[in-house]
Amino acid sequence: MRDKLLAGAGALAAVLFVRNLYVMFMQIGDEVDQGAIYRIIYFHVPAFFTAGMCYIASMLASAYTLWKKDLRADAFAMSATEVGLAFAAVNLLTGMIWGRIIWGIWWAWDPRLTWALISWLVYFGYLGLRKAIDDPSERANISAVVNIFAFTSVAITWKAIVWWRTQHPAPVLSIRGADGKIDPAMEAMIYTNWIPLLLMATIFIAIRLRQERALRELDAMRRWAHST
């Protein structure tokens, strides 16, 4: 049943994705200043949204882990973080490619890009910490606390970076300025293309959860075997 549900979600994501590709290349025209490359925004921005959603979900799951001592919630928090990092990486890479073509540089200290990098570092620490703790219950407890700290810090960072960058305008035009000029059809496509990405994120998380459950069972069996 769960397999079929996942396969169904996957198929839906694929169909939507193909349809979106068709629309974004065949129906929506090039952007006036940037030409064809601007289409990267349809991946750059939804990936950013998806990463944000994953971080929020993972924070909520961590709070639940502490509250109920539920290891499944901990596995969910971990899976959501991993998937969030993957989408933050998509955001980073597409941002860099875009920056290289439009601004001529691989890395611009644009708020969104900087934020994605910092969130990467913060959550990378979270995942690294998990690897260093052997007992699953202790790991759940400790990493849930770190996750709540990580989310809080990343949320404050988001605000701080916007202030920082507005005080020191980068030598290049910022994406935020372009937002106002965006064509409604283009903006709609950003959201439409978010749906397949969210579906993909859900599928990845479900698969990771299954692996984690198997790992927990293995760990329990190993402990049982060693206790004789």
Partner: protein
Amino acid sequence: MVPVSVENVWKYFGDYPALREVNFTLESASCLALLGRNGAGKTTILRILAGLSTASKGEVKLPDRRRTAYLGHNIGIYDELSALENLKLFGRFYEVENPVSSASKWLERVSLAHVADAPAREFSRGMRQRLALARVFLHEPEMLLLDEPFTSLDDRAIALLQDLMREAKQRGASIILSTHQLREALELATKVVLLNRGQIAYCGPRTQAMVDDPAALYRDHGGEA
């Protein structure tokens, strides 16, 4: 009046139940010996009782924390502080009425008064162990939680600990200790709990037969010594 009760306690490490359905009670002025092999769950129970860990399921009732003392595998004193400073500090944490005079009194008792102001780092092994015992009994606890107390102590400290435990029992304190040293433990114990793979294999009063042949307990109730 039952000062200690452990009701249907489970403890999970991940999906592995390290303790399963553990139940026992202990009256005042009595001593319970927790027996079992390595990994049977003795330390896990003691850590839950001491508040170092929480039970996944079930309930634990204990006297007030201020009336409880815990001695783990290690001595738990600060090397950089002097003997007196160590005792004064823990006296403050346990809300002893007059930390300074109790500390001096206990230093006399464990024969460390002459080195009260020397840092614990400079002490010999035996002196450090006696200082640890003074730390445990400083606040006249009603409940003693001792994890393998005889394993790391030297002969003099063991003799002292046995004296102190007897005194505490006469005062009405309850004692829970986990141990391998069956003979020392069984002589003091009034009650025995044998753990096997996180479950209680035997729970009942200590009998003379156990003291005479400690290994029989393991033979009869699963798990060899």
